[in-house]
């Protein structure tokens, strides 16, 4: 899934890029409104994140232009303008969400996941739910269920679980995992993989210290042991 991020402050933009990449999205970055429109047409993202106060063309205008050609693509505004009238204007232009600065990472992630769920629901791909141990994973809903508890997941989380599920009882190397779930060239840096697994364990495992679903395969990588 590809997201277009338009933000003129380089630090905020890079921070957002980090967050989105970690979540598992592909990014197209724009530093101003004109670039944003160009990239929208050339990169064809699945949804768009727009700052409002940008040079050349502001976020409202970019949204207007996009909505002229596509009334469905999700648009999220990320702005320091927090007055009632600013939000109203955003929604009137057809935005799906409006996040005010300063925002917390968790907040951004939660709202982006919500938007992603809507995208997945309307897409034609069929990905059925599957179970790993006592966890029922719903790829299109970006969540999983244990008994009645619903746990939210990110794109990459789903991909990792799917990969492990598909290679059940097979130890997979970090490189394999990376190439499959990260869609990037493996550079030999395993830190981000381990961190992600660690995070995922904290999210889905009953006891992250002794994981049942994503177990360590020493010397190789990770493994999902399917219990019969």
């Amino acid at each position: 899934m590809k997201v277009l991020i338009a933000e003129d402050d380089i630090l905020i933009r890079e921070g957002l890029v980090d967050i989105f990449e970690d979540e598992g999205y592909q990014i197209a970055e724009a530093a101003n409104g004109c670039e944003a429109l160009e990239l929208y047409h050339s990169e064809k993202p699945d949804f768009v994140c727009l700052d409002i106060m940008m040079p050349e063309l502001n976020g409202y205008d970019v949204c207007r232009e996009i909505r002229k050609v596509d009334s469905n693509i999700p648009v999220i505004f990320l702005s320091a303008k927090s007055q009632e009238e600013d939000k109203l204007q955003g929604f009137e232009l057809g935005a799906d969400d409006y996040i005010t600065k300063p925002f917390g990472i968790k907040e951004v992630i939660a709202r982006v996941r919500a938007v992603t769920r809507r995208c997945l629901k309307s897409s034609s791909t069929t990905e059925s739910t599957f179970s790993m141990a006592d966890l029922e994973i719903n790829p299109k809903g970006l969540n999983c269920k244990r008994n009645d508890e619903v746990i939210e997941l990110g794109l990459r989380d789903i991909k990792i679980l799917q990969y492990l599920f598909q290679h059940a009882n097979e130890a997979v190397s970090r490189q394999q995992l990376f190439q499959s779930c990260w869609e990037m060239e493996f550079t030999g840096n395993t830190r981000s993989i381990d961190q992600k697994i660690s995070q995922l364990r904290k999210t889905v495992e009953v006891d992250p210290q002794s994981p049942q679903i994503i177990q360590t395969a020493h010397g190789v990588g990770y493994i999902y042991k399917k219990l019969d």
Binding site: I12, G15, I19, K81, E84, P102, F103, G104, Q195
Partner: protein, 504 residues
């Protein structure tokens, strides 16, 4: 300038100026009328004086002759004596009680031509009883008539035995004397005085030959009522034209001053509006500028946290501090910026359905770190489960400001009680601490902007003093109230809000 303001200003400027001019003119007019009336009255007096002076001779004749006439005996001697007693007497005549002329007697052989002429001219009048009823009394009087152009003048009296005795007077001698008695100088101002009789001008005097604009006429008294004085004169300048110019000038000055004032007021208003707009724009601009670095601080601290896992609890804790302090910074910035945009009484309220207990809980969690630092014990007694209509942001600000004050002012290990109550109409939130409390003398003032109980830096307490002022205004914007309740220990604030959002 909008039409409404133009019309208001025109009103303010024109009404007083025009009123001044109008009233001043009326005043001048009435003064002039009064002066004119007085002037004419004095001129009338003047001319009446002329009349009475010049005709005083008539009165004298009457006074002298009537007693003599009354005493006249019928004999020739006394008749001759009487005839020669006054130069004005032309001829004597006597009528018997029946009205017959017995002297001069037309049937007498001793009738002189002069007497005959007298009878010819006058007998008709003399025998007409009307002649003698024209007087004010029936005893004596004057009578005059015209035979052609000639004036005939008689004075008559009734005797004790009802005979009528009278004289015909030399009217030209009389006229001459009257004319002589006309005073030479009636007035210091130029004038023209004419005495005329029908068309004949008998006397004319002009101090200056020119046209005169005003005229007064006065008839001579009986029997010369056909004579009249014509007095011509000019009206003086009663009121100097300077007065009217001055009045005009003053009215214009008034109009100008009022215009000046209106202009100043308008400029002032414009300036105020501009300043207010600038202030709000500045606040918005600063807000935007500050939020960008604040966003980065928080975001990067959180990114760092994610990356570090549980490696070093001290590291995590320090990152927590950065994140929480950035929250606090955000709250403080919001407070200050709200204040900059805040105009007392003009709060924009956006209602939403809110569960007050839940919202209070949420607000409290944001203060967890700060309260824990000071080891404050927080107890909640929530009894307001019903949702009510409030503006959640404003509500958060109110409670947040109260809690923020507690954080600043109560000593360590104090306790904080937050309770809520609800009935059909209102919801009450009570925030009580057991700190030092607020001394009675400050009770009325603590809700004032910038008011702080102690300004001493040594107290170690920071704050700008605007929290309570804003909080109360926000409460009132909902139609509610924020009060300080007397309590036996610590400070107790009560927030009252209507359940169904009565916006003032």
């Amino acid at each position: 300038m909008p039409l409404k303001i133009i019309s208001i200003f025109s009103f303010i400027i024109l009404i007083p100026s025009l009123s001044i001019f109008y009233l001043g003119s009326r005043l001048n007019e009435s003064e002039e009328s009064m002066l004119r009336a007085r002037y004419y009255a004095s001129q009338e007096e003047r001319i009446n004086l002329v009349v009475s002076q010049s005709t005083s001779i008539l009165g004298k004749i009457e006074k002298d002759l009537i007693p003599l006439l009354k005493k006249t005996a019928m004999d020739n001697e006394s008749i001759n004596e009487l005839s020669s007693s006054s130069i004005y007497i032309n001829h004597l005549f006597i009528l018997n009680p029946k009205g017959k002329v017995i002297y001069p007697l037309s049937s007498s052989e001793a009738l002189t031509p002069r007497e005959a002429d007298f009878l010819r001219r006058n007998s008709q009048i003399l025998t007409n009883s009307q002649t003698y009823t024209a007087a004010d009394n029936n005893q004596n009087g004057w009578y005059s008539w015209y035979a052609g152009k000639n004036l005939n003048l008689i004075l008559w009296t009734k005797t004790d035995d009802n005979f009528t005795v009278g004289v015909e007077l030399h009217q030209d001698r009389l006229k001459r004397d009257i004319i002589n008695k006309i005073p030479d100088n009636i007035s210091d101002q130029p004038y023209q005085l004419i005495l005329k009789n029908a068309e004949t001008e008998l006397y004319k005097a002009s101090s200056k030959e020119q046209d005169y604009s005003s005229v007064l006429k006065a008839e001579l008294p009986r029997p010369l009522q056909s004579f009249q004085f014509i007095y011509r004169f000019n009206e003086p300048q009663f009121i100097s034209p300077l007065r009217q110019y001055f009045l005009l000038g003053f009215s214009i000055l008034t109009a100008l001053s009022l215009s000046g004032i209106c202009l100043l007021l308008y400029r002032e208003r414009r300036r105020n509006i501009l300043e207010s707009t600038q202030r709000v724009n500045f606040a918005n601009q600063v807000s935007h500028e500050l939020k960008t670095p604040l966003t980065n601080i928080r975001m990067y601290a959180e990114l760092l946290q994610n990356r570090l896992d549980d490696e070093d609890p001290k590291v995590m804790r320090r990152l927590d501090v950065i994140i929480n302090e950035s929250h606090r910074l955000s709250r403080m910035i919001n407070n200050v910026l709200n204040f900059a945009k805040w105009e007392k009484g003009k709060v924009f309220v956006k209602m939403d359905e809110v569960a007050p207990d839940q919202l209070c809980s949420d607000i409290l969690t944001k203060f967890d770190l700060a309260f824990n630092k000071k080891k404050l014990k927080v107890r909640t007694h929530f009894n307001a489960p019903q949702s009510i209509l409030v503006d959640p942001d404003l509500f958060t600000q109110i409670i947040g400001n109260l809690l923020s004050n507690i954080e600043k002012y109560v000593p360590e290990a104090s306790s904080v009680d937050i309770s809520s109550l609800q009935n059909e109409k209102i919801t009450e939130i009570i925030v009580q601490d057991n700190g030092p409390g607020i001394p009675k003398k400050h009770f009325g003032k603590i809700f004032q902007s910038f008011y702080r109980i102690s300004n001493q830096m040594s107290d170690g307490v920071t704050g700008t003093g605007i929290g309570l002022a804003i909080a109360r205004d926000f409460a009132r914007a909902h139609g509610g109230e924020l009060e300080l309740i007397p309590s036996h220990e610590g400070a107790c604030f009560k927030l009252t809000l209507p359940n169904s959002g009565n916006i003032t």
